[in-house]
Amino acid sequence: MLEIEKLVKRYRTGDMALKGIDLVVPDGQVMALIGPSGAGKSTLIRCVNRLVEPTSGAIRLNGTNLVALSTGELRKARRKLGMIFQEYALVERLSVMENVLSGRLGYVGFWASWFRRYPDTDIEEAFRLLTRVGLDHMVDKRADELSGGQRQRVGICRALIQNPELLLVDEPTASLDPKTSRQIMRLIRELCQERGLSAIINIHDVALAQMFAERIVGLRLGEVVYDGPPTGLTAEVLTTIYGEEDWAATMQKGGDDDAGDEASDDTPARAPRSHDDTHPTFDRDRMAGLT
Protein backbone atom coordinates (compact mmCIF):
# COMPACT_ATOMS: atom_id res chain seq x y z
CA MET A 1 0.00 0.00 0.00
CA LEU A 2 1.25 3.45 -0.90
CA GLU A 3 0.33 6.38 1.29
CA ILE A 4 1.18 9.91 0.26
CA GLU A 5 0.77 12.60 2.92
CA LYS A 6 0.90 16.36 2.41
CA LEU A 7 3.43 15.98 -0.36
CA VAL A 8 4.88 19.33 -1.45
CA LYS A 9 7.37 19.96 -4.22
CA ARG A 10 8.71 23.42 -4.86
CA TYR A 11 11.28 23.67 -7.64
CA ARG A 12 14.31 25.89 -7.24
CA THR A 13 12.72 28.30 -9.69
CA GLY A 14 10.00 28.81 -7.08
CA ASP A 15 7.30 26.92 -8.99
CA MET A 16 4.99 24.99 -6.71
CA ALA A 17 4.59 21.74 -8.62
CA LEU A 18 2.72 19.88 -5.86
CA LYS A 19 0.72 21.70 -3.20
CA GLY A 20 0.19 19.15 -0.45
CA ILE A 21 -1.04 15.98 -2.10
CA ASP A 22 -2.81 13.33 0.01
CA LEU A 23 -3.36 10.02 -1.73
CA VAL A 24 -3.67 6.36 -0.77
CA VAL A 25 -3.18 3.59 -3.34
CA PRO A 26 -4.27 0.20 -1.94
CA ASP A 27 -2.54 -3.02 -3.01
CA GLY A 28 -3.54 -4.25 -6.43
CA GLN A 29 -5.16 -1.02 -7.58
CA VAL A 30 -4.47 0.42 -11.03
CA MET A 31 -4.85 4.16 -10.75
CA ALA A 32 -4.66 6.63 -13.59
CA LEU A 33 -3.39 10.13 -12.98
CA ILE A 34 -4.76 12.63 -15.47
CA GLY A 35 -4.40 16.35 -15.84
CA PRO A 36 -3.08 19.03 -18.19
CA SER A 37 0.62 19.44 -18.96
CA GLY A 38 2.35 21.06 -16.01
CA ALA A 39 -0.21 19.82 -13.49
CA GLY A 40 2.52 17.92 -11.62
CA LYS A 41 1.71 14.36 -12.70
CA SER A 42 5.26 13.55 -13.68
CA THR A 43 6.67 15.29 -10.60
CA LEU A 44 4.33 13.28 -8.36
CA ILE A 45 5.42 9.86 -9.55
CA ARG A 46 9.08 10.92 -9.64
CA CYS A 47 8.81 12.00 -6.02
CA VAL A 48 7.79 8.45 -5.12
CA ASN A 49 11.12 6.95 -6.23
CA ARG A 50 12.91 10.22 -5.56
CA LEU A 51 14.18 10.88 -9.04
CA VAL A 52 12.78 14.24 -7.91
CA GLU A 53 13.43 15.15 -4.27
CA PRO A 54 10.21 16.13 -2.46
CA THR A 55 10.31 19.42 -0.56
CA SER A 56 8.17 18.15 2.33
CA GLY A 57 5.61 15.53 3.23
CA ALA A 58 5.75 11.77 3.57
CA ILE A 59 5.48 8.87 1.13
CA ARG A 60 5.02 5.46 2.76
CA LEU A 61 5.36 2.22 0.85
CA ASN A 62 4.11 -0.62 3.07
CA GLY A 63 5.04 1.42 6.11
CA THR A 64 8.52 2.65 5.05
CA ASN A 65 8.79 6.41 4.65
CA LEU A 66 10.65 6.78 1.33
CA VAL A 67 11.31 10.49 1.87
CA ALA A 68 13.44 9.87 4.96
CA LEU A 69 15.73 7.20 3.45
CA SER A 70 19.51 7.59 3.16
CA THR A 71 21.19 7.05 -0.21
CA GLY A 72 21.94 3.38 0.44
CA GLU A 73 18.47 2.67 1.79
CA LEU A 74 16.92 4.53 -1.12
CA ARG A 75 18.77 2.23 -3.53
CA LYS A 76 17.23 -0.77 -1.80
CA ALA A 77 13.78 0.84 -1.79
CA ARG A 78 14.00 1.69 -5.50
CA ARG A 79 14.24 -2.01 -6.29
CA LYS A 80 10.64 -2.31 -5.11
CA LEU A 81 9.47 0.53 -7.35
CA GLY A 82 9.32 -0.47 -11.00
CA MET A 83 9.16 2.45 -13.42
CA ILE A 84 7.95 2.55 -17.00
CA PHE A 85 8.86 5.66 -18.95
CA GLN A 86 7.57 7.96 -21.61
CA GLU A 87 9.40 7.14 -24.84
CA TYR A 88 10.63 3.91 -23.24
CA ALA A 89 14.01 5.23 -21.95
CA LEU A 90 15.77 2.02 -22.88
CA VAL A 91 19.55 2.19 -23.12
CA GLU A 92 19.61 2.18 -26.88
CA ARG A 93 23.00 0.61 -27.49
CA LEU A 94 22.40 -2.28 -25.10
CA SER A 95 20.62 -5.43 -26.22
CA VAL A 96 17.06 -6.31 -25.26
CA MET A 97 18.35 -8.84 -22.72
CA GLU A 98 20.79 -6.36 -21.17
CA ASN A 99 18.02 -3.81 -20.85
CA VAL A 100 15.75 -6.29 -19.13
CA LEU A 101 18.54 -7.51 -16.84
CA SER A 102 19.38 -3.93 -15.88
CA GLY A 103 16.22 -4.19 -13.78
CA ARG A 104 18.20 -6.53 -11.52
CA LEU A 105 21.07 -4.06 -10.94
CA GLY A 106 19.87 -3.34 -7.43
CA TYR A 107 20.20 -7.02 -6.56
CA VAL A 108 23.57 -8.01 -8.07
CA GLY A 109 27.10 -6.84 -7.28
CA PHE A 110 29.11 -4.51 -9.49
CA TRP A 111 31.43 -7.10 -11.04
CA ALA A 112 28.59 -9.51 -11.75
CA SER A 113 26.78 -6.75 -13.63
CA TRP A 114 29.98 -5.55 -15.35
CA PHE A 115 30.66 -9.02 -16.79
CA ARG A 116 26.94 -9.61 -17.38
CA ARG A 117 27.09 -12.68 -15.13
CA TYR A 118 23.61 -12.64 -13.65
CA PRO A 119 22.24 -15.48 -11.51
CA ASP A 120 20.51 -18.20 -13.52
CA THR A 121 17.20 -17.41 -11.85
CA ASP A 122 17.40 -13.83 -13.18
CA ILE A 123 18.12 -15.01 -16.72
CA GLU A 124 15.26 -17.47 -16.50
CA GLU A 125 12.88 -14.81 -15.26
CA ALA A 126 14.01 -12.46 -18.05
CA PHE A 127 13.23 -15.11 -20.66
CA ARG A 128 9.90 -15.81 -19.01
CA LEU A 129 8.92 -12.13 -19.05
CA LEU A 130 10.10 -11.62 -22.63
CA THR A 131 8.06 -14.65 -23.67
CA ARG A 132 5.08 -13.24 -21.82
CA VAL A 133 5.25 -10.00 -23.83
CA GLY A 134 6.06 -11.85 -27.06
CA LEU A 135 9.68 -10.74 -27.49
CA ASP A 136 11.63 -13.89 -26.62
CA HIS A 137 12.86 -14.11 -30.23
CA MET A 138 14.62 -10.72 -29.99
CA VAL A 139 16.81 -11.11 -26.89
CA ASP A 140 20.07 -10.17 -28.64
CA LYS A 141 18.70 -7.36 -30.80
CA ARG A 142 19.90 -3.90 -29.90
CA ALA A 143 17.15 -1.83 -28.31
CA ASP A 144 17.31 0.82 -31.04
CA GLU A 145 16.38 -1.78 -33.67
CA LEU A 146 12.94 -2.27 -32.12
CA SER A 147 9.68 -0.51 -32.95
CA GLY A 148 7.97 1.76 -30.43
CA GLY A 149 5.55 -0.85 -29.14
CA GLN A 150 8.27 -3.47 -28.84
CA ARG A 151 10.50 -1.06 -26.94
CA GLN A 152 7.79 -0.26 -24.46
CA ARG A 153 7.27 -3.98 -23.87
CA VAL A 154 10.98 -4.30 -23.09
CA GLY A 155 10.57 -1.34 -20.73
CA ILE A 156 7.73 -3.19 -19.01
CA CYS A 157 9.90 -6.30 -18.61
CA ARG A 158 12.69 -4.20 -17.12
CA ALA A 159 10.30 -2.83 -14.51
CA LEU A 160 8.73 -6.21 -13.71
CA ILE A 161 11.99 -8.14 -13.30
CA GLN A 162 12.71 -5.86 -10.34
CA ASN A 163 9.91 -7.79 -8.63
CA PRO A 164 8.32 -4.49 -7.63
CA GLU A 165 5.59 -3.76 -5.11
CA LEU A 166 4.39 -0.76 -7.07
CA LEU A 167 4.59 0.27 -10.72
CA LEU A 168 5.17 3.92 -11.58
CA VAL A 169 4.14 4.47 -15.17
CA ASP A 170 4.90 7.82 -16.82
CA GLU A 171 3.01 8.45 -20.07
CA PRO A 172 3.50 4.92 -21.41
CA THR A 173 1.68 5.64 -24.66
CA ALA A 174 2.86 9.15 -25.44
CA SER A 175 4.64 8.24 -28.68
CA LEU A 176 2.65 5.20 -29.75
CA ASP A 177 -0.14 4.94 -32.29
CA PRO A 178 -3.69 4.41 -30.97
CA LYS A 179 -3.74 0.65 -31.48
CA THR A 180 -0.34 0.03 -29.90
CA SER A 181 -1.30 2.38 -27.05
CA ARG A 182 -4.26 0.19 -26.21
CA GLN A 183 -2.19 -2.96 -26.43
CA ILE A 184 0.41 -1.55 -24.07
CA MET A 185 -2.21 -0.33 -21.59
CA ARG A 186 -3.98 -3.68 -21.72
CA LEU A 187 -0.68 -5.46 -21.12
CA ILE A 188 0.14 -3.27 -18.12
CA ARG A 189 -3.29 -3.87 -16.60
CA GLU A 190 -3.15 -7.63 -17.18
CA LEU A 191 0.31 -7.91 -15.66
CA CYS A 192 -0.84 -5.94 -12.63
CA GLN A 193 -3.78 -8.29 -12.20
CA GLU A 194 -1.61 -11.39 -12.59
CA ARG A 195 0.78 -10.23 -9.88
CA GLY A 196 -1.62 -8.32 -7.67
CA LEU A 197 0.50 -5.25 -8.34
CA SER A 198 -0.65 -1.69 -7.83
CA ALA A 199 0.21 0.97 -10.39
CA ILE A 200 0.09 4.71 -10.82
CA ILE A 201 -0.24 5.56 -14.50
CA ASN A 202 0.26 9.11 -15.75
CA ILE A 203 -1.67 9.51 -18.90
CA HIS A 204 -2.83 12.31 -21.18
CA ASP A 205 -5.40 10.22 -22.96
CA VAL A 206 -8.63 10.42 -20.97
CA ALA A 207 -10.34 7.71 -23.01
CA LEU A 208 -7.49 5.26 -22.42
CA ALA A 209 -7.47 6.09 -18.72
CA GLN A 210 -11.19 5.37 -18.49
CA MET A 211 -10.80 2.11 -20.36
CA PHE A 212 -7.95 0.61 -18.36
CA ALA A 213 -7.92 2.09 -14.86
CA GLU A 214 -10.17 1.28 -11.90
CA ARG A 215 -9.66 4.67 -10.35
CA ILE A 216 -8.95 8.08 -11.81
CA VAL A 217 -7.24 10.94 -10.02
CA GLY A 218 -7.36 14.33 -11.70
CA LEU A 219 -4.57 16.79 -10.98
CA ARG A 220 -4.65 20.49 -11.72
CA LEU A 221 -1.90 22.94 -10.76
CA GLY A 222 -0.47 20.58 -8.16
CA GLU A 223 -3.77 19.75 -6.44
CA VAL A 224 -6.10 16.76 -6.58
CA VAL A 225 -9.37 17.98 -8.09
CA TYR A 226 -10.98 14.63 -8.83
CA ASP A 227 -10.67 11.22 -7.22
CA GLY A 228 -13.15 8.57 -8.19
CA PRO A 229 -14.25 5.89 -10.61
CA PRO A 230 -13.80 6.25 -14.40
CA THR A 231 -17.56 6.58 -14.83
CA GLY A 232 -17.53 9.74 -12.74
CA LEU A 233 -15.66 11.73 -15.36
CA THR A 234 -18.46 14.02 -16.50
CA ALA A 235 -18.04 17.07 -18.70
CA GLU A 236 -18.08 19.25 -15.55
CA VAL A 237 -15.31 17.19 -13.95
CA LEU A 238 -13.19 17.35 -17.09
CA THR A 239 -13.71 21.11 -17.14
CA THR A 240 -12.42 21.42 -13.57
CA ILE A 241 -9.36 19.34 -14.48
CA TYR A 242 -8.47 20.71 -17.89
CA GLY A 243 -10.49 23.90 -18.29
CA GLU A 244 -13.34 24.88 -20.56
CA GLU A 245 -13.72 22.78 -23.70
CA ASP A 246 -16.40 20.89 -25.57
CA TRP A 247 -16.07 17.50 -23.87
CA ALA A 248 -18.94 15.84 -25.70
CA ALA A 249 -16.71 14.00 -28.17
CA THR A 250 -14.42 12.66 -25.44
CA MET A 251 -17.34 11.53 -23.30
CA GLN A 252 -19.10 9.74 -26.13
CA LYS A 253 -16.04 7.90 -27.25
CA GLY A 254 -14.93 7.09 -23.73
CA GLY A 255 -16.28 3.55 -23.75
CA ASP A 256 -16.34 3.23 -27.55
CA ASP A 257 -13.75 1.16 -29.37
CA ASP A 258 -12.66 3.88 -31.79
CA ALA A 259 -11.38 6.33 -29.22
CA GLY A 260 -7.66 6.45 -28.76
CA ASP A 261 -5.91 9.52 -29.95
CA GLU A 262 -8.88 11.89 -30.01
CA ALA A 263 -8.58 13.02 -26.43
CA SER A 264 -4.87 13.72 -26.33
CA ASP A 265 -4.18 16.73 -28.42
CA ASP A 266 -1.15 17.72 -26.35
CA THR A 267 0.88 14.65 -27.25
CA PRO A 268 1.99 15.55 -30.74
CA ALA A 269 4.68 12.88 -31.09
CA ARG A 270 2.40 10.12 -32.24
CA ALA A 271 4.42 8.61 -35.00
CA PRO A 272 2.21 6.45 -37.17
CA ARG A 273 3.50 2.96 -36.66
CA SER A 274 0.62 0.90 -37.94
CA HIS A 275 2.19 -2.49 -38.54
CA ASP A 276 4.55 -2.43 -35.58
CA ASP A 277 3.18 -5.25 -33.63
CA THR A 278 2.08 -7.61 -36.31
CA HIS A 279 4.19 -10.68 -35.88
CA PRO A 280 3.99 -13.78 -38.00
CA THR A 281 3.28 -16.11 -35.13
CA PHE A 282 -0.19 -15.91 -33.70
CA ASP A 283 0.99 -17.43 -30.45
CA ARG A 284 3.33 -14.60 -29.56
CA ASP A 285 0.62 -12.05 -30.09
CA ARG A 286 -1.73 -13.99 -27.91
CA MET A 287 0.90 -14.33 -25.20
CA ALA A 288 1.51 -10.60 -25.27
CA GLY A 289 -2.17 -9.90 -24.92
CA LEU A 290 -2.23 -8.37 -28.34
CA THR A 291 -5.27 -10.14 -29.74
Binding site: L51, R78, V91, E92
Partner: protein
Protein backbone atom coordinates in the same frame (compact mmCIF):
# COMPACT_ATOMS: atom_id res chain seq x y z
CA UNK B 1 0.05 57.24 -53.90
CA UNK B 2 -0.91 54.30 -51.70
CA UNK B 3 -2.02 52.53 -54.87
CA UNK B 4 1.50 52.61 -56.37
CA UNK B 5 3.07 51.35 -53.12
CA UNK B 6 0.81 48.33 -53.15
CA UNK B 7 1.56 47.43 -56.76
CA UNK B 8 5.32 47.95 -56.86
CA UNK B 9 7.28 44.77 -55.96
CA UNK B 10 8.35 44.80 -52.35
CA UNK B 11 12.07 44.74 -51.69
CA UNK B 12 13.92 42.78 -49.05
CA UNK B 13 17.55 42.71 -48.09
CA UNK B 14 19.27 40.79 -45.33
CA UNK B 15 19.76 43.25 -42.46
CA UNK B 16 23.50 44.00 -42.06
CA UNK B 17 25.33 42.52 -39.06
CA UNK B 18 26.26 46.00 -37.80
CA UNK B 19 23.35 48.39 -38.17
CA UNK B 20 25.20 51.71 -38.29
CA UNK B 21 26.89 52.23 -41.71
CA UNK B 22 29.43 54.59 -40.13
CA UNK B 23 30.63 51.95 -37.64
CA UNK B 24 30.50 49.21 -40.29
CA UNK B 25 32.68 50.98 -42.86
CA UNK B 26 34.88 52.46 -40.15
CA UNK B 27 35.70 48.95 -38.96
CA UNK B 28 36.49 47.76 -42.49
CA UNK B 29 38.80 50.75 -43.00
CA UNK B 30 40.55 50.23 -39.64
CA UNK B 31 41.21 46.55 -40.38
CA UNK B 32 42.57 47.40 -43.85
CA UNK B 33 44.89 50.08 -42.42
CA UNK B 34 46.18 47.80 -39.69
CA UNK B 35 46.83 45.01 -42.19
CA UNK B 36 48.73 47.37 -44.48
CA UNK B 37 50.81 48.69 -41.56
CA UNK B 38 51.52 45.16 -40.31
CA UNK B 39 52.68 44.00 -43.73
CA UNK B 40 54.86 47.12 -43.94
CA UNK B 41 56.80 46.10 -40.81
CA UNK B 42 57.69 42.70 -42.28
CA UNK B 43 60.99 43.84 -43.66
CA UNK B 44 61.71 41.71 -46.72
CA UNK B 45 65.00 42.29 -48.46
CA UNK B 46 64.08 41.11 -51.97
CA UNK B 47 67.68 41.30 -53.19
CA UNK B 48 68.87 38.89 -50.54
CA UNK B 49 65.92 36.59 -51.21
CA UNK B 50 66.99 36.48 -54.86
CA UNK B 51 70.62 35.77 -54.01
CA UNK B 52 69.59 33.05 -51.56
CA UNK B 53 67.51 31.15 -54.08
CA UNK B 54 70.33 28.99 -55.51
CA UNK B 55 71.50 28.08 -52.00
CA UNK B 56 67.94 27.11 -51.08
CA UNK B 57 67.77 24.96 -54.17
CA UNK B 58 71.06 23.24 -53.23
CA UNK B 59 69.58 22.47 -49.81
CA UNK B 60 66.47 20.93 -51.34
CA UNK B 61 68.58 18.99 -53.85
CA UNK B 62 70.65 17.51 -51.02
CA UNK B 63 67.53 15.56 -49.94
CA UNK B 64 67.63 13.55 -53.15
CA UNK B 65 68.00 10.73 -53.55
CA UNK B 66 66.84 9.69 -50.07
CA UNK B 67 69.33 7.35 -48.44
CA UNK B 68 67.62 4.55 -46.52
CA UNK B 69 70.61 2.19 -46.27
CA UNK B 70 73.54 3.92 -44.52
CA UNK B 71 71.57 4.86 -41.34
CA UNK B 72 68.95 2.13 -41.53
CA UNK B 73 69.58 0.61 -38.09
CA UNK B 74 69.20 4.05 -36.42
CA UNK B 75 66.03 4.74 -38.40
CA UNK B 76 64.65 1.32 -37.48
CA UNK B 77 65.40 1.77 -33.77
CA UNK B 78 63.92 5.28 -33.79
CA UNK B 79 60.71 4.10 -35.42
CA UNK B 80 60.31 1.22 -32.94
CA UNK B 81 60.90 3.61 -30.05
CA UNK B 82 58.33 6.05 -31.43
CA UNK B 83 55.77 3.29 -31.85
CA UNK B 84 56.10 2.00 -28.30
CA UNK B 85 56.01 5.58 -27.00
CA UNK B 86 52.80 6.13 -28.93
CA UNK B 87 51.14 2.90 -27.82
CA UNK B 88 52.13 3.25 -24.16
CA UNK B 89 51.28 6.95 -23.99
CA UNK B 90 47.90 6.46 -25.66
CA UNK B 91 46.90 3.58 -23.36
CA UNK B 92 48.10 5.31 -20.19
CA UNK B 93 46.75 8.72 -21.23
CA UNK B 94 43.31 7.40 -22.14
CA UNK B 95 43.10 5.29 -18.95
CA UNK B 96 43.95 8.30 -16.80
CA UNK B 97 41.58 10.58 -18.65
CA UNK B 98 38.53 8.38 -18.03
CA UNK B 99 38.17 9.26 -14.32
CA UNK B 100 39.14 12.88 -15.03
CA UNK B 101 36.60 13.07 -17.89
CA UNK B 102 33.81 11.61 -15.76
CA UNK B 103 34.67 14.06 -13.00
CA UNK B 104 34.62 16.95 -15.45
CA UNK B 105 31.09 16.21 -16.67
CA UNK B 106 28.70 18.66 -15.02
CA UNK B 107 25.77 16.26 -15.05
CA UNK B 108 27.68 13.55 -13.15
CA UNK B 109 30.05 15.22 -10.74
CA UNK B 110 29.34 17.46 -7.73
CA UNK B 111 30.70 21.01 -8.03
CA UNK B 112 34.07 20.59 -6.19
CA UNK B 113 35.01 17.47 -8.18
CA UNK B 114 33.87 19.18 -11.36
CA UNK B 115 36.06 22.24 -10.81
CA UNK B 116 39.09 20.14 -9.79
CA UNK B 117 38.84 17.94 -12.90
CA UNK B 118 38.23 20.91 -15.19
CA UNK B 119 41.39 22.48 -13.73
CA UNK B 120 43.41 19.35 -14.53
CA UNK B 121 42.10 19.43 -18.09
CA UNK B 122 42.85 23.14 -18.43
CA UNK B 123 46.44 22.71 -17.24
CA UNK B 124 46.97 19.77 -19.55
CA UNK B 125 45.58 21.66 -22.51
CA UNK B 126 47.26 24.99 -21.92
CA UNK B 127 50.76 23.83 -22.91
CA UNK B 128 51.73 22.81 -26.37
CA UNK B 129 53.50 19.44 -26.59
CA UNK B 130 56.91 21.00 -27.34
CA UNK B 131 56.81 23.07 -24.15
CA UNK B 132 55.74 20.04 -22.13
CA UNK B 133 58.51 18.00 -23.73
CA UNK B 134 61.18 20.59 -22.86
CA UNK B 135 59.87 20.55 -19.29
CA UNK B 136 59.87 16.76 -18.98
CA UNK B 137 63.31 16.46 -20.61
CA UNK B 138 64.68 18.84 -17.95
CA UNK B 139 62.94 16.79 -15.26
CA UNK B 140 63.77 13.25 -16.36
CA UNK B 141 66.66 13.68 -18.78
CA UNK B 142 66.92 12.92 -22.47
CA UNK B 143 65.21 9.87 -23.85
CA UNK B 144 61.89 8.28 -24.68
CA UNK B 145 60.58 8.34 -21.10
CA UNK B 146 60.27 12.13 -21.26
CA UNK B 147 58.56 11.80 -24.63
CA UNK B 148 56.17 9.18 -23.28
CA UNK B 149 55.21 11.42 -20.34
CA UNK B 150 54.69 14.40 -22.64
CA UNK B 151 52.34 12.56 -24.94
CA UNK B 152 50.44 10.80 -22.14
CA UNK B 153 49.93 14.13 -20.35
CA UNK B 154 48.73 15.86 -23.50
CA UNK B 155 46.35 12.95 -24.16
CA UNK B 156 44.63 13.47 -20.80
CA UNK B 157 43.67 17.03 -21.72
CA UNK B 158 42.40 16.12 -25.15
CA UNK B 159 40.59 12.90 -24.37
CA UNK B 160 39.28 13.93 -20.95
CA UNK B 161 37.73 17.12 -22.31
CA UNK B 162 36.02 15.38 -25.21
CA UNK B 163 34.82 12.56 -22.95
CA UNK B 164 33.36 15.09 -20.50
CA UNK B 165 31.60 16.91 -23.32
CA UNK B 166 30.20 13.68 -24.73
CA UNK B 167 28.87 12.69 -21.31
CA UNK B 168 27.26 16.10 -20.92
CA UNK B 169 25.50 15.61 -24.27
CA UNK B 170 24.12 12.18 -23.43
CA UNK B 171 20.43 11.37 -23.20
CA UNK B 172 19.54 11.85 -19.50
CA UNK B 173 16.40 9.72 -19.78
CA UNK B 174 18.30 6.52 -20.48
CA UNK B 175 20.56 7.18 -17.50
CA UNK B 176 17.58 8.10 -15.30
CA UNK B 177 15.86 4.82 -16.13
CA UNK B 178 18.92 2.86 -15.00
CA UNK B 179 19.10 4.88 -11.79
CA UNK B 180 15.44 4.12 -11.07
CA UNK B 181 16.15 0.37 -10.91
CA UNK B 182 18.22 0.84 -7.74
CA UNK B 183 21.60 0.58 -9.46
CA UNK B 184 24.72 1.68 -7.58
CA UNK B 185 26.74 4.61 -8.90
CA UNK B 186 29.29 2.44 -10.70
CA UNK B 187 26.55 0.25 -12.18
CA UNK B 188 24.78 3.37 -13.28
CA UNK B 189 27.91 4.60 -15.10
CA UNK B 190 28.43 1.15 -16.65
CA UNK B 191 24.83 0.69 -17.86
CA UNK B 192 23.41 4.18 -18.23
CA UNK B 193 26.37 6.26 -19.39
CA UNK B 194 29.05 4.04 -20.93
CA UNK B 195 26.93 2.55 -23.75
CA UNK B 196 25.97 6.05 -24.83
CA UNK B 197 29.53 7.38 -25.15
CA UNK B 198 31.43 4.22 -26.14
CA UNK B 199 31.45 4.40 -29.98
CA UNK B 200 32.63 7.99 -30.00
CA UNK B 201 35.25 7.25 -27.38
CA UNK B 202 36.71 4.38 -29.40
CA UNK B 203 36.82 6.61 -32.46
CA UNK B 204 38.51 9.41 -30.52
CA UNK B 205 41.00 6.97 -29.01
CA UNK B 206 42.08 5.89 -32.48
CA UNK B 207 42.24 9.49 -33.63
CA UNK B 208 44.39 10.35 -30.62
CA UNK B 209 46.69 7.40 -31.42
CA UNK B 210 47.14 8.94 -34.84
CA UNK B 211 47.97 12.37 -33.35
CA UNK B 212 50.28 10.81 -30.77
CA UNK B 213 52.41 9.14 -33.41
CA UNK B 214 52.99 12.47 -35.11
CA UNK B 215 53.72 14.10 -31.74
CA UNK B 216 56.24 11.36 -30.99
CA UNK B 217 58.25 12.58 -33.99
CA UNK B 218 58.12 16.18 -32.76
CA UNK B 219 59.08 15.61 -29.12
CA UNK B 220 62.26 13.85 -30.25
CA UNK B 221 63.57 17.11 -31.63
CA UNK B 222 63.78 18.61 -28.13
CA UNK B 223 65.25 15.44 -26.63
CA UNK B 224 62.22 13.26 -26.07
CA UNK B 225 63.60 10.23 -27.94
CA UNK B 226 62.00 8.33 -30.79
CA UNK B 227 62.22 8.96 -34.52
CA UNK B 228 62.37 12.71 -33.88
CA UNK B 229 65.75 12.28 -32.18
CA UNK B 230 67.03 10.32 -35.17
CA UNK B 231 65.77 13.02 -37.52
CA UNK B 232 67.42 15.74 -35.46
CA UNK B 233 70.76 13.87 -35.48
CA UNK B 234 70.58 13.49 -39.25
CA UNK B 235 70.09 17.24 -39.67
CA UNK B 236 72.92 18.07 -37.30
CA UNK B 237 75.27 15.85 -39.31
CA UNK B 238 74.10 17.48 -42.56
CA UNK B 239 72.99 14.03 -43.74
CA UNK B 240 70.04 15.40 -45.65
CA UNK B 241 69.61 12.25 -47.71
CA UNK B 242 69.13 10.20 -44.54
CA UNK B 243 66.80 12.90 -43.18
CA UNK B 244 64.73 12.60 -46.34
CA UNK B 245 64.51 8.85 -45.81
CA UNK B 246 63.28 9.42 -42.23
CA UNK B 247 60.68 11.92 -43.40
CA UNK B 248 59.41 9.45 -45.97
CA UNK B 249 59.15 6.69 -43.35
CA UNK B 250 57.22 9.06 -41.03
CA UNK B 251 54.83 10.01 -43.83
CA UNK B 252 54.29 6.36 -44.71
CA UNK B 253 53.50 5.38 -41.12
CA UNK B 254 51.19 8.36 -40.57
CA UNK B 255 49.30 7.42 -43.72
CA UNK B 256 49.07 3.81 -42.62
CA UNK B 257 47.72 4.80 -39.17
CA UNK B 258 45.35 7.29 -40.79
CA UNK B 259 43.79 4.74 -43.13
CA UNK B 260 43.57 1.95 -40.58
CA UNK B 261 42.08 4.18 -37.87
CA UNK B 262 39.56 5.53 -40.37
CA UNK B 263 38.61 2.00 -41.30
CA UNK B 264 38.32 0.92 -37.64
CA UNK B 265 36.21 3.94 -36.75
CA UNK B 266 33.71 3.15 -39.50
CA UNK B 267 33.57 -0.41 -38.22
CA UNK B 268 32.88 0.70 -34.63
CA UNK B 269 29.83 2.83 -35.50
Amino acid sequence: MTESVVHSPRRWRKPPLIASPLVRWGLVLAVALYLAAALGTVDVNWKRVYEGLPRGWQFVAAFFPPDFSSRWSEIYDGILESIWMTVAATVVGVSLSIPVGIGAARNLAPAPVYYACRAILAVSRSFQEIILAIFFVKLFGFGPFAGFLTIAFATIGFYGKLLAEDIEDMDPKQAEAVKATGASWLQWINYGVQPQVMPRMIGLGLYRFDINFRESAVVGIVGGGGIGATLNTAFERYEFDSAAAILIVIIAIVMLVEYSSGYLRRWVQ
